[in-house]
């Protein structure tokens, strides 16, 4: 089983920093690629009845069509256009497609491998989810919202979920009455897990020609979906700072949100919050690889906290004093810090302080 290297994660983070990213997620054969083709107005990806061994596909705007492949070890190679249909693509974690389509002018689209595929490596989706701003979770109308979907969805970061959409795909397969009932269940199940539930009959849209596309998009529900994306991403853009680090750092929420103690309300947790604020800055500036300077700031912050006992402070300082940080290791160190901070917030030091 291939491991996702830190270099590969670094590359994903760098891509994410460029544009907002909308991801298509869900079970395999749940209509993700069909929806993507409809959004793009072209049959970009093959749709299959069985689980494809297609890697994730990251579409971004650019002047001319180009295809790159990112391997698990982080190496990036340019591929021929033909490879999309015929190449052996199993070795790639992500295919990066630069496409001149208008559909990509506001945000990138990431089509992810379907879950519940027996051959899918289980950390791929979680990793990808750390590098997106909004998810369209595709769930097939005829077998709507199963435990495998719910469990995976609940394991993703909450801020991401709160912006995301549950799409009932293939809704044209159901009668009107049945669809109403499925949607009713959808609204009930999605409470607190999604910002909206929309039904999509993407097949209609994809067969529509350019002339009557607008009306086809209306009836298929794609117009509503796009309006929703625009609204949520605009809100995101207007936020003071792009909360990149927040998504990554949010500890996974396991049970009902109401029962989770709210970190921000807990005064004892302010050290953690300070550290996180600093870390967010590091993430922003880390693209310039001036990490050591920032770490010094961070250390200064910790040092000033009089509540910490000497032992605890030394321990944190020891963790934070990373020497000789060079560019290629930045992502790795950030990730380690990330884990460190989560541990810290849950661990005895936080309670002691």
């Amino acid at each position: 089983m291939a491991k996702i290297s830190d270099d590969a994660r670094g590359q994903l983070a760098a891509w994410k920093a460029q544009h907002p990213v909308v991801a298509l997620m869900g079970e395999f054969s749940a209509g993700k690629s069909t929806l993507l083709n409809a959004l793009m107005g072209a049959d970009l990806l093959p749709t299959r009845a069985t689980a494809t061994r297609m890697p994730a596909v990251w579409l971004t705007a650019g002047p001319a069509l180009q295809v790159y492949g990112l391997r698990y070890d982080g190496t990036l190679t340019q591929l021929a256009e033909d490879d999309l249909a015929h190449g052996a693509l199993e070795d790639y974690l992500v295919l990066r497609i630069i496409d001149p389509s208008d559909a990509l002018s506001d945000y990138d689209i990431l089509d992810t491998p379907g879950i519940s595929d027996i051959r899918l490596q289980d950390d791929v989706i979680q990793t990808l989810a750390g590098h997106v701003d909004l998810v369209i979770w595709c769930s097939n109308a005829t077998q709507f919202w199963r435990q495998s979907e719910k469990a995976m969805w609940r394991a993703l970061p909450r801020p991401l979920r709160d912006r995301s959409v549950l799409a009932v795909t293939g809704s044209d397969r159901l009668s009107k009455r049945d669809l109403t009932r499925v949607l009713r269940r959808g609204h009930k199940e999605a409470k607190g897990l999604f910002s909206a539930v929309l039904s999509i009959a993407a097949l209609d849209a994809v067969t529509a020609t350019d002339d009557d596309r607008t009306s086809a998009w209306e009836t298929s529900g794609i117009s509503d979906l796009i309006a929703h994306l625009d609204e949520n991403l605009t809100a995101l853009r207007h936020a003071d700072k792009r909360p990149i680090a927040e998504d990554v750092l949010e500890p996974p929420i396991r049970e009902d949100h109401a029962e989770i103690p709210d970190n921000t309300a807990n005064a004892d947790n302010h050290i953690y919050l300070d550290l996180r604020k600093n870390l967010q800055e590091i993430t922003e500036i880390s693209k310039d690889f001036r990490l050591s300077t920032l770490l010094k700031q961070l250390i200064a912050t910790v040092d000033e906290h009089t509540e910490l006992s000497d032992d605890d402070r030394n321990l944190v300082m020891q963790v934070l004093s990373l020497d000789d940080v060079t560019g290629s290791d930045a992502a790795k160190y950030l990730r380690q810090l990330d884990g460190e901070l989560s541990d810290f917030s849950n661990g005895p030091w936080c309670q002691l302080a």
Binding site: E27, F28, S116, I118
Partner: protein, 697 residues
């Protein structure tokens, strides 16, 4: 079933099976005939045996009557199990279903099985104990299916069950207590009645699921000449439903479920949840598995998609070292319904008709005229057939054949063997009553004989224990060796990783290799213990034969004695479990781990492993070894006690007075001779009973 073929679409003829090639009777018919023949022979036998053995014949009769074929329809939520159940029994609106999942009840349709006290519908409610057991159920479907956060599922299930119980209690008030553990029975039933008991999940109509959260099982009784053997079709709640109670109920009913039809959705065939079901069934040594790929009517390019799906599923089975010859039937329960009521009311845009035409056209173009369709359930059949495209007839054939070979034939064979044993014992006794001279050897030392029997019983008992102990010790030794190798290899890898300052996430213990070793150890135990116990049984049968030899004076009275069958031990669920190690990643990933020195983590790893080793060996010893030993002893004791009884009867005949008494009860000499000749005829018929070949796959 109303067959309205007045306006069938042009492709509809492809839904019907091609005319049967009436060459040989199917295995199901063969088994049904054998059963009827056995029934007839047992009736004669009951009149021919000595009075002491009439009870034993009645027991055989009971075993024969209890022989039913259980067929379970399992699969993910909304895969189309209920629609398929309706199609299989040919009553398309009998079991209600809905676009949302709504049943948590196991519904059993009993076909050609006598109704209990004339009732054709019986609904059983939970007892308090069953409810508690479900709350504490330890199931590992989520783990096997690799669902995220499966560790938390136990808590979720408990919360869901508690809520279900609370709701039921609030709604039913006082009646709740009365209903627990009781049942409702009806002489007739209709879909609306069923809904009240089985349909849970919609809040719209309270009456709809009035008792649904309280109902555990629903049993319906119908007659259907299409089913040669008495069959029970069980429609199980869907697995992988966010309402996890449904999955728990289904898993609770899987052991002893008989033949399992896993219903897949063609548009998303064979997910991690489907694979988990196959693996759970395999772990229960249930090899009677059939896959039915439903909803081919929803495929975009049905013919080429079917080819692709068939290759995909068989490829995955091979990759996971599961049997690749599991029958896979492709079809559509919706088409089956259309075949019965063409055209369908709820298919206004002719979607079903069009998809069927599409498959016919595509397939006609794809196949060569001299292509043969192969056996039902094979790739050739799935991808070349032009008739029976709903797959219904083929599925029925596969079910009937597998059931006849795998379930009916072995059971019938066992009953026949026990009946033969009985005829021989009875014949000896009868012949003795006829003889004027004493039937026993004049020099017979009864004391010695009793001693010998006593010794035999004791030896066999001890030997059983010895065999099991030896084999299980060997197994436990192998198991701990596997764990030891695992720990030492992985500890080294872990230490090296820590030394190299590598990413702890890169460390992945090879749990699958450990599991393979554990399974291999258990299989070795299964094989060696079964072989040894079989040998012991054969030896015992020979010894009993020898004892008859010392008792009976005439050579011609002696007969061969068949040893009893050895029961196979079940595969322990613990061998399918790897939870402890799966969490290795999360406890190890902290950065502090490395700062604190890796030794603590290496120690923690080996602690977890030795804890797991202890749990495994204890469960193996306490449950599986002990139950195997108990089963072996039980069949040996039953075998020996029957023969001891016969010997006692023989010894009793040595007493002239008693012999006269028995003769009086049996009637005149001629009637005894009639009985003996009847027994000989029966024995002959029993030994030539024609059964489907169980070993053929």
């Amino acid at each position: 079933m109303s067959l309205d073929m007045s306006s069938p679409g042009p492709a509809s003829k492809h839904l019907f099976p091609a005319a049967e090639t009436a060459a040989q009777p199917s295995d199901a018919i063969l088994a049904a005939r054998a059963r009827d023949e056995l029934e007839r022979l047992l009736e004669i036998l009951e009149g021919a045996v000595v009075p002491e053995q009439v009870g034993t014949v009645e027991k055989l009769h009971e075993r024969l009557h209890d022989l039913t074929i259980p067929v379970a329809l399992v699969g993910q939520v909304k895969a189309g199990k209920t629609a398929l159940a309706n199609a299989l029994i040919g009553k398309f609106d009998m079991l209600p279903s809905d676009v949302n999942p709504w049943t948590s009840v196991v519904t059993s349709v009993h076909i050609n099985i006598p109704k209990p006290r004339g009732h054709s519908a019986v609904f059983n409610f939970f007892t308090r104990e069953e409810w508690d057991r479900m709350v504490g159920a330890d199931q590992n479907m989520g783990e096997l299916a690799g669902r995220a956060d499966h560790e938390d599922e136990g808590d979720t299930i408990r919360a869901q069950i508690a809520e279900m119980k609370e709701k039921a209690e609030a709604r039913l008030g006082q009646n709740f207590e009365y209903l627990l553990g009781s049942s409702h029975a009806y002489v007739g039933f209709h879909p609306e009645l069923l809904k009240r008991y089985v349909c849970l999940g919609t809040d719209e109509d309270e009456r709809e699921g009035q008792f649904a959260d309280l109902t555990r099982t629903a049993d319906l009784y119908i007659e259907d000449a299409d089913w040669a053997l008495p069959t029970i079709i069980r429609d199980m709640p869907g697995v992988n439903d966010p309402f996890l109670v449904r999955e728990t109920v289904t898993l609770d009913h899987l052991s002893g479920a008989g033949l399992c039809v896993i219903v897949l959705n063609a548009t998303q065939a064979f997910t991690t949840a489907d694979m988990a079901l196959v693996r759970i069934l395999m772990s229960m040594r249930n090899e009677q598995i059939v896959l039915y790929v439903n909803r081919v009517d929803e495929l975009c390019d049905p013919h080429s998609d079917i080819v692709e799906i068939d290759t995909y599923i068989r490829g995955l089975l091979a990759e996971f070292e599961l049997p690749t010859n599991i029958p896979i039937v492709f079809g559509s329960a919706a088409w089956a319904k259309m075949m019965a009521y063409a055209p369908l009311d709820d298919d206004p845009s002719d979607r079903l008709q069009k998809s069927l035409e599409r498959l016919v056209t595509e397939r006609q173009a794809a196949i060569e005229p001299d292509d043969t369709t192969g056996a039902p359930g094979s790739t050739e059949s799935s991808t070349r057939r032009l008739d029976d495209l709903s797959g219904l007839h083929e599925l029925r054939q596969v079910i009937a054949t597998q059931a006849a070979r795998g379930i009916a034939a072995p059971a019938l064979r066992n009953i026949a063997r026990d009946a033969i044993d009985l005829t021989q014992q009875s014949a000896v006794l009868l012949k003795k009553t006829l003889g004027s001279q004493t039937p026993l050897r004049p020099d017979l030392d009864i004391e010695a004989l009793i001693d010998r029997l006593d010794r035999l019983l004791k030896t066999v008992n001890d030997e059983c224990e010895r065999i099991t102990t030896t084999s299980s010790e060997e197994m436990l030794f192998k198991i701990s060796e596997a764990y030891y190798t695992f720990v030492s290899t992985e500890t080294k890898a872990l230490k090296r990783l820590i030394l190299d300052k590598g990413d702890p996430n890169q460390w992945a213990p090879d749990v699958e290799d450990l599991q393979r070793h554990l399974n291999r150890s258990y299989n070795a135990f299964r094989e060696s213990s079964m072989a040894a116990v079989s040998a012991l049984f054969a030896e015992t049968a020979r010894e009993v034969e020898a004892i008859y030899g010392t008792v009976l004076s005439r050579e011609s009275d002696l007969f061969d004695i068949e040893p009893p069958a050895v029961q196979e031990p079940p595969t322990p669920a613990i061998l399918m479990r790897t939870t402890e190690f799966d969490v290795a990643g999360s406890w190890l990933s902290g950065w502090l781990a490395r700062r604190n020195g890796g030794d603590a983590y290496v120690k923690r790893f080996s602690d977890i492993t030795s804890k797991q080793l202890k749990a495994t060996t204890k469960e193996m010893q306490d449950i599986y070894v002990v139950s195997f030993l108990r089963a072996a002893r039980t069949s040996l004791h039953r075998f020996l006690s029957e023969h001891i009884e016969t010997l006692q009867n023989l010894l009793a005949l040595d007493d002239d007075e008693k012999r006269d008494d028995l003769r009086k009860r049996l009637g005149v000499e001629q009637s005894i001779r009639d009985r003996i000749s009847a027994l000989e005829t029966i024995a002959g018929a029993l030994s030539t009973l024609k059964l489907p070949n169980a070993s053929a796959s």
